[in-house]
């Protein structure tokens, strides 16, 4: 159809009027379809799908009002302009024309100039409407594809773990809310909740790199500071100034029973104590992600001791800012009351959703009630993660050794664990053990660093005040470090139908033999400090220290029994 030529249905029982109209319309180069009453108009409409209808108001069999109503019903989303032809003059008749679906009216006698102008105007409107519809279809299609891609990226994590709960609207991708969870190689869990400025595709698009970075780096064992730094740098580079990501990240260490929490621009993360029912709020103390350039962004999580049954709750501003029909906000007080009056901790999550839902009643939420919670559990509740690897599965290096020495500056600026783990998983037989390996490596390396080089005392961690102090001291001493080192000697050799891996980690400290911490204390004390080492001992075939206690040697052979056969708590 050329832009000017339209198909126009003329419905008029009066032969004279119809012929005059046809002549006018045809002279303008349009195609005419004629009907002599409402019923015929309906039939012609179904057959020929006209662009515009000129409809006489009063006709036998079915009048123009009724025909219009039925045609508009059938047209659905399609715009079919109907111009009523009438010599009716009274206001109520004219109103009736519009109410029954008419878009305009023309009085008899027909003014040809006006009629042409109206046909052209409605023709333009019709074309614009078609364009809009086609753009809309295109957009829906694109959103569907975008959502599929996003779901593939975002939902590869571990949100289904039994100790996690989350709520996210099915269309959340397009309001910029993101919820991510992934296992760390040591068995812990990293959580991320993000809320991008704005709505629609621009808000959703930033979630893709966030998810990629979050999953990729978390699986490889990077610390949350590194993950946050990387996310911030990426968003700062790719997003326009006015778009950024408010977010919160929580690292749950299920072995050492702690939570590391970072909040930037979303409402306070709540830490709910399972035994006392008390709530600690971790307020946002950072700018959102993507606002500051890398050199000025320095993520500083806060560390909290956690007992089994303690929970963290993360949310976007959608919950607190939900409002009811009277315009009142749900607010922090209502939220706090839910925690205060909770009788069953397992139900708090659902109680929040129900309360918000009841509160907003008939009014639609402005934002979405995005909510994520995690409960501290023991590792055997959730198992060790099966980390995916996309490396080819052929042999790999079997006979090698490496030595890595980290001086004071490197210890402060560099986390060697992801790098080492990456090398280890080049050995095909070790790939499925990366969780084991990371746990052993992380525990031994951190002992060497914290106790050996930094001289920190594990006993500090036994109460929660000391716990926070411990990590503050760690931070501070690491920053001030001018001497000391940690050496990693790692070797692998073929053995039987598998291989044998040996870690030897030496620190520059005096060794625990010189302190009050002996090996028996370290491995047998069930409290925080000893937990890690007790686990390492079960994961390794051999674990021994030198006399001074500043060198540890761990050996693992493979193939080895599956995690479930290790009887962690046995």
């Amino acid at each position: 159809m050329s832009s000017a030529s339209l198909t126009i249905l003329i419905a008029d029982d009066n032969n004279t009027d119809r012929r005059i109209l046809s002549a006018i319309v045809q002279q303008e180069g349009h195609k005419v379809v004629e009907a002599t009453n409402g019923e015929e108009a309906l039939e012609r409409f179904n057959e020929s799908v006209p662009d515009i209808i000129l409809m006489d108001a009063l006709m036998p069999k079915m009048n123009g009002f009724e025909a219009s109503r039925l045609i508009k019903q059938r047209a659905g989303n399609q715009l079919v302009p109907i111009i009523f032809l009438t010599s009716l003059q009274d206001a109520s008749s004219l109103a009736n024309c519009l109410e029954s679906g008419g878009d305009d009216f023309m009085s008899k006698p027909y003014n040809r100039v006006i009629l042409k102008a109206k046909i052209n105007a409605f023709g333009r409107m019709r074309r614009m409407h078609d364009q809009l519809q086609s753009h809309n279809r295109q957009m829906l299609l694109e959103q569907q594809v975008a959502k599929t891609v996003f779901d593939n990226v975002a939902h590869s994590g571990c949100l289904a773990l039994p100790n996690l709960r989350h709520s996210l609207s099915p269309l959340a991708v397009f309001n910029g809310d993101t919820v991510l969870a992934e296992r760390k190689p040591d068995g812990g869990i990293s959580l991320f909740l993000g809320d991008f400025t704005g709505h629609g595709l621009p808000a959703a698009i930033g979630a893709m790199p966030v998810a990629e970075i979050f999953y990729g780096m978390t699986q490889k064992g990077f610390a949350m500071e590194d993950v946050l730094r990387e996310i911030n740098a990426k968003l700062y580079t790719i997003l326009p100034t006015e778009v950024f990501c408010c977010g919160a990240m929580v690292d749950l260490d299920v072995t050492n029973k702690m939570a590391r929490i970072w909040v930037g621009g979303v409402p306070s993360v709540y830490l709910y104590r399972g035994d006392s029912g008390a709530v600690e709020k971790v307020a946002s103390s950072n700018l959102p992600l993507g606002v500051l350039p890398s050199r000025r962004f320095s993520p500083q999580p806060n560390d909290y001791r956690m007992h089994n049954g303690d929970r963290v709750f993360l949310w976007s501003d959608g919950i607190v800012e939900s409002h009811n029909e009277a315009g009142e906000l749900f607010g922090e007080e209502r939220l706090d009351a839910l925690f205060t009056h909770a009788t069953d901790p397992d139900r708090i999550f659902d109680d929040i959703l129900v309360a918000v839902d009841q509160f907003i009643g008939g009014s639609r939420p402005d934002d979405d009630t995005t909510l994520l919670s995690a409960t501290m559990v023991d590792l055997d509740v959730i198992g060790l993660p099966l980390l995916h690897s996309n490396k080819a599965s052929i042999g790999g290096p079997m006979d090698w050794q490496m030595n890595l020495q980290l001086g004071p500056q490197s210890l402060g600026a560099f986390n060697p664990l992801p790098l080492v783990l990456n090398i280890l998983t080049e050995v095909e037989g070790l790939r499925s053990l990366s969780g084991h390996l990371y746990t052993v490596l992380a525990e031994l390396f951190n002992n060497a660093l914290e106790h050996g080089v930094l001289g920190l005392d594990s006993k500090l961690k036994q109460d929660s005040q000391g716990f926070a102090q411990y990590y503050q001291l760690r931070e501070q001493r690491l920053a001030d470090l001018t001497s000391g080192q940690v050496c990693l000697d790692i070797s692998h050799r073929p053995l039987g139908n598998g291989g044998e891996l040996t870690f030897e980690i030496t620190d520059s400290g005096p060794g625990f033999a010189h302190s009050h911490q002996d090996l028996a204390y370290l491995t047998d004390n069930p409290d925080y400090s000893g937990r890690g080492l007790a686990l390492v001992r079960r994961l390794c075939d051999e674990l021994d220290f030198n006399d001074a206690g500043n060198r540890v040697r761990a050996t693992l052979c493979w193939p080895r029994p599956a995690w479930s056969e290790l009887h962690l708590n046995g």
Partner: protein
């Protein structure tokens, strides 16, 4: 022009316009108009002979009759039809005999004028 010159039988400007628009089909249109007009007049007379004339039908027919008169530029006949439509609308059909007679006379005059001047 219709309202300003109610006594005029034909609106010559409108008819000339129509002739330009329809070209060869013009005489056919005039014949169609005259045939339809005669038919509607006969219908109105028949309706009026009924002991209790159906005001709605009278109104509809008069309305439609008026519309095509206006479109063809038959000014005075359109005026008479409008009066009939208004009376039907007000349910005053007991005194329309003379109005109907006027419509008949005017129609005959219009037939004569159109045939002599435009065919």
């Amino acid at each position: 022009m219709t309202a300003d010159q109610p006594d005029q039988h034909l609106d010559d400007a409108a008819l000339t316009d129509l002739r330009d628009l329809l070209e060869d089909d013009f005489s056919d249109l005039i014949e169609t108009f005259l045939g339809d007009a005669r038919e509607r007049y006969t219908e109105l007379v028949a309706l009026n002979q009924h002991p209790e004339p159906d005001a709605q039908t009278v109104r509809g027919t008069a309305h439609s009759f008026k519309g095509s008169c206006l479109n063809v530029g038959v000014t005075r006949l359109a005026q008479l039809c409008r009066r009939l439509e208004e009376m039907a609308n007000a349910d005053q059909l007991d005194s329309v005999d003379s109005l109907l007679a006027d419509i008949g006379t005017e129609l005959t005059e219009v037939e004569r004028l159109l045939r002599s001047q435009y065919l």
